[in-house]
Symmetry: D2
Subunit: 479 residues, 4 copies
């Protein structure tokens, strides 16, 4: 796999459409880049809620027959990020339950920082958890709520959790969208004729022909029912903390998130980068696909021709077989093909969006050089990544982040590049045209807007990464 | 599916490598763009030939266990173009037989124009065909050859067929590569340490770290055995007829075919196109992925900024579900996403490599305009496609080719574009830097270098498209 | 399917064996006749409990790899009766939970008559149920128990349920077997070297070479741990109510249940039947396989030769295809083949163990007559079945039981037999050599040892057949 | 697997029925005991022949969808005996070809003793074989026949083969049934309304309601077409050689083969055995299912009660897992359960139809004794099996047949029985009520009615067991 942060999820919801499950399928398809591990849909026909979820891509999980078994005009959907292992099906979403308030399904993008504490308390009270997902905590709080009205019970439940959460919730007759008061993860609201649509990104609306209206606001609980849309704001006010990495890498370039065009922001990141870190070179080559926008901005600003000197192979399968005999640059050549006629004899600026561990970047630099490049200058369209994320992004531990433990010169040495330069945090913030405090940039600063347990290692094991524990049993034993 | 010509096949062979089947697997993986319907490998351990073939992508068909069942240091492989239907497994290659000359496997890229006549004759003599593939004719000629030596029998067999054929053949102890005297389809020769490698394109050599030596020459039969490489030239001299469409669309940009860098040729096509058919515009947008190289050349030459205004979705599955309710531009939006922030209010030059029926182009133009483009100018980096191919490319009938039946103005009307212009044949030939007569450009001219039965309709039914007959029974009834 | 009552389940448990999961697999294999819908095993290695369960036969659900993933020396297993539909996986057992008392798995043979009431209460308190199984109630009671020790929590939980329950329960370090105070369903205890074994029938012990010690007694909670075996008797004394149908049909002839050899009892049923209902005939023919034992006793007592005049086809698959054109006696001929040379011209006594709806019996009589029988006399080795069971046997409603709604003469008419006679209740009880009150014979008498809601139809919908509700949604709506 | 000879195949054909493929499916279902490895059907709608074949049971291979793809009023079908390994699909039947005579499908029960010689010759002439099946020889002879009429070509082809063959052949418009002049294997002819039916056994006719007319006679070629039934007798007269083992073990008891009721013959074998080899005992116990008929005859004749002291387990799956720890009598207990209450303290006569290697019999004797039997007397309802079969039965080599290499006393010793006795050949022949020379009893006598190469070992390798060669490559190397 490429050495990138991984988004945890994408969510979608629709109310009042005769083909609600079909539209949700399409919406999830457009959000597939936010999660390739599993896909799920829950739909209500006003009488009964039905759901289906499975490991795999949206287009593989759902066919016409399966969608036909999800009738009704209200639906929600969820895609989850890609890891190995069937055993994770229990963690796929939407989570669906039947309880005293009736049937309810929930899909979640984000991460709850107090999930472990709430879970321990619920278990002590006799609740039986089916998964290691933090989201299931909300389901149990809901099941135990003494509120008479289902939407009151939902408000009561979400008021108890802390952290990052963009939620879509389905009951027999309602679609409810919730965004945490910091607004960590995006959540957009739109219309498709008479139907209401919510989605992690606007690209899901584009595919089905829906029109973007506004974002679900940070701290807003939006209840869509036959009576119309009702907005509740049960949370205490909190500082904004939009995830800046959505702009850098996660979101699709054709989406608008946090009110900005992703493509425009990224191209601007390239332009600022070219101004901050110019280099005398013959050709600008993006690392596809994530570096393309920034590379265009960089090339334009620098007046250096852009060329597709690395081509991505789109046929990579799950079970790709490694030969016993070592082949030079094999791992990365399976995914990226260098174009010798572009690279040979050239001074190359390699533009990428980010470096995590540096392992892939190192292989790419070597491969580009092996294809004849005279010089290789790495330019990264964001600041050095030095801290893990606790708000819904799958990141390695701090110790594995190359920029957290190495100087710029050491990184250059490791990558075997002629030069390596990052965009400055100021440059990044200027490109998103925002005052500093509306974004969370904790992965670049280590400053976390919502507190979490001090001991990172413990936190990783107990709270955030509970579902990882299953895979890495040694981690558990260490505790 | 996108409205493109389809390549029929890719072939690969290796002699003298301890991991012959693994290397062939990787080679086929690199050639996957030449055929996604089926994949197959045959390998010999010097004693026994074993083979495996199946419908599907290389990385799905083969896993470690299956490759382990193909031991030996000689192997060939084949990928076939993508169509629907399991029933085609019988036509997957390599074809493997056991006969009086021993075991033999064969993989073929191309098309034999006299296959039907030879087949009829062989059947009259009592041969039993297992498939509708033209390639099986060679197997039966081989089985019936009275030559004592296997390689003499092969030479005798291939001497009887006419048309386009780049072949890889495996016997118990030999790898044999054959290229028809016209050299329609590419076939390169390389080395990997002590091993010899042949492949449809050089990109297959790059992945495994092999070095390109030269092309298997038109009319050459190359026999690789423990005794070394022997070159035989059993065919009468014939005019060269390299498939020019390999440069325009088929081959991978990082390959060299017919001695030229594909990327370089394509970028040059864009430059020539910009000179021949300039347009006053704000942005150049390629139709990905095939139009990217030419768009870069066009943008550069024209001095207009290039932008990725259309983004390709890489998660498209086989079973994509169409909603009942019509969605504007749905079919094409599933594959391509317009980036509104790039297109809105702009005069757009849309660069693509070719137009076949025009159906997809029309949808793209509409979608680009719906995303806010003020003007849409279509520029195609090859001449109008007016004639079907009989040399190994899957093309529709002449009647379906929009340029064969419509004037340029009618095409512009149909596409709803502000202007449509093609590259001239002269421009195309100048970009491949070749004298006219070394290339086959029959798809643009209707001039065929190897004769075929006059009645195209009949020919399509009886000879070339025999395997289609199964799917389109009505066609048979027409006869 | 043949027209028979269906057993609901078989359970197995083992403590202290190095191959606990393997032994459980074998034990379930021997108990396969008690349930063919799904199979499951849970095992503990003293540290962690793992489980696997799936729709299908034991030998299809488990292979070596799956068993290897269930390490440890303690295990329980469960087989469930056969119905259609994948959707029932949620109801497969063992049910496994993680709760404040740690991990726990439970397998159940029987039926809880107060499950619905307990469930409603638990849901009101905020419990989330995952299945429609009555057994899950015990799991939630356990999760909510405030007892400190796991086994005290289990005793507290099972003390709240009423009805029929032979349970195997697994915790991290204990195997617990529970039998309801009436002793409805069998549960035997045995030893295999140092290991303890519990199983629904002794045939499961025979296969693995274990020795039968005694039955788990009605009302006994048996806790097996490293400290040895401890017997608890938390229930109020209650009259015995062994299911007499275990002897008539359910149990395997090579088992001992309720202290008696099943084969011996069944053969004796045939002898008593011959004395009570003699008939002048040429040949005694069993309906295989269930009628064989009784037919042997009947033939011997009557001095009439026994012949296998009906042969069972063992290759029946799940997806058997019915031809469009009607074939005489088709449905039953697929399962049973009449042997003309035995039946032709003969006066035949057809011996079967029971008649439920009569539909299959009618077809068999017709088929036997079509094969040339001169007379067909039906003899049934139990009394007329007139009442449904509420203690763990899958029976149709009263209205569907032919003997509940028809006189003997009407039954004879319907079956088109020359005579039909049943064994008397006295004869049945004399053959099991028991005082009347140690057996439940409610299916023959309508007298139920444990009370249940008066309105049978409602009860069927709400309590007993909750899992059917999913299939018959209209039933739900009626409520 | 139980230690039995294995039948090689069953065949079925029907002409003139609107549901020809469905009827063939049912016919094969009734013949499933003759072969469980693979199943196949070919059908003609008068215009095109279509076929489907796969590894597995009839009811698993075919579903409604697959049968619907085999339209037409003429069909043939084939079941093949059970061995392991997917690789055998190429050997499944019907074999279907397209050749100069048009499409043709063929199904074969038997074995051709001169297949190897004919095959070698055909390969030398350039024929390409797809399988190792002897039957494919007939297909190639047919493809090469210069006869103008298809049925003349078939007659010419079958006239060249020698050995045992009951064939069903399908062309576009004909059903052809062929039986070798010795009549080794059975083949019956029947009617179902206006349709004609041929089948290996009459039980296939019973299931679909067809009426048995007569056997296809030894040496008869029966051509069924729109013009009616035509009988051809192209073979030289030859002595009859019906396979006596069909009566002893292969055929289903409800079938008539060679004009006799199988059940009646088998019961009579038991009676004669009781007269020839009486024993003072308490109970007669059959080894199920094959020993049941003979045990009934034995018990009756001897006046000893019959009891089902061994019960067969019908849930045995393919992937049955063996525990690591040895369990007494495990292998046989998985298939057969001893009933202690029947065997304990008794002198038992164990009746079985045959002993091949003796391995299973030894385990059964031990198991019966372990269940408490005081004495175990083995009685076999046929003579000692001393020679392999070359006419279509899967038998081990002579060296593996216990009776070929051991005295009766040694066999008794090996089986650990109190006595072992076989039926005499005279007794066997008297029970089939035949003059000696109408039956082949070569497995008991070593006298072969059709000659075969002297060197048995070579013959096994080259001719009869060609398909085994794939599995036992060492055998090939020996040659």
């Amino acid at each position: 796999m490429l050495d990138k942060f991984k988004d945890e999820c994408g969510v979608f919801g629709i109310f009042g459409h005769p083909e609600a499950a079909n539209m949700t399928y399409l919406g999830l398809y457009a959000l597939q880049h936010r999660g390739q591990e599993s896909a799920g849909i829950a739909a209500s026909d006003g009488d009964q809620v039905r759901s289906a979820r499975e490991m795999g891509y949206v287009a593989d999980v759902f066919d016409g027959g399966r969608l036909a078994q999800l009738p009704g005009s209200i639906a929600i959907g969820h895609v989850r990020y890609s890891t190995a292992g069937e055993s994770k099906l229990a963690n796929a979403q939407p989570i669906m339950i039947d309880c005293a308030h009736g049937q309810m399904a929930i899909g979640h993008n984000g991460n709850l920082v107090n999930a472990r504490e709430l879970r321990d308390e619920l278990v002590q009270q006799g609740s039986i958890f089916q998964s290691s997902s933090d989201t299931e905590v909300i389901a149990h709080l809901y099941a135990r709520s003494k509120k008479v009205m289902a939407e009151d019970a939902i408000v009561e439940s979400v008021s108890q959790v802390q952290g990052a959460f963009s939620l879509v919730i389905l009951t027999r007759d309602r679609l409810i969208a919730v965004r945490d008061p910091h607004g960590f993860r995006p959540l957009a609201l739109g219309r498709l004729d008479d139907a209401y649509v919510v989605a992690s990104e606007t690209c899901a609306m584009d595919l089905i022909g829906a029109t973007y209206m506004r974002d679900v606001e940070p701290g807003e609980v939006l209840v869509v029912s036959a009576a119309g849309v009702r907005s509740i704001r049960p949370f205490a006010p909190a500082p904004l903390a939009h995830c800046i990495f959505e702009h850098v890498y996660f979101a699709r370039p054709d989406s608008y998130v946090f009110g900005r065009s992703v493509n425009e922001v990224r191209t601007e990141l390239g332009r600022v980068l070219a101004r901050e870190q110019p280099v005398d070179a013959d050709v600008v080559v993006p690392v596809p696909d994530s570096g393309v926008c920034a590379a265009m901005g960089f090339a334009e600003q620098a007046g250096i021709p852009l060329r597709m000197g690395l081509i991505r192979n789109h046929y990579v399968g799950r079970t790709f077989i490694q030969p016993q005999q070592s082949i030079r640059h094999f791992g990365v050549k399976v995914k990226l093909n260098p174009v010798r006629s572009i690279l040979e004899g050239k001074r190359v600026v390699l533009v990428d969006d980010s470096i995590v561990r540096g392992t892939t970047s190192r292989k790419i630099v070597r491969m580009v050089r092996a294809a004849g490049a005279k010089e290789v200058h790495v330019r990264i369209s964001c600041p050095p990544t030095i801290s893990p994320c606790f708000y819904g992004v799958d990141t390695p531990r701090r110790a594995e982040l190359i920029a957290a433990t190495h100087t710029l010169e050491e990184i250059r040495d490791y990558l075997e590049a002629d030069s390596v330069q990052y965009l400055s945090l100021e440059g990044l913030l200027s490109a998103v045209q925002s005052e500093r405090n509306s974004y969370c940039s904790s992965c670049y600063t280590g400053v976390y807007p919502v507190p979490f347990p001090r001991d990172e290692a413990r936190y990783l094991q107990l709270a955030l990464k509970l579902d990882r524990v299953e895979k890495h049993e040694s981690v558990v034993t260490e505790t």
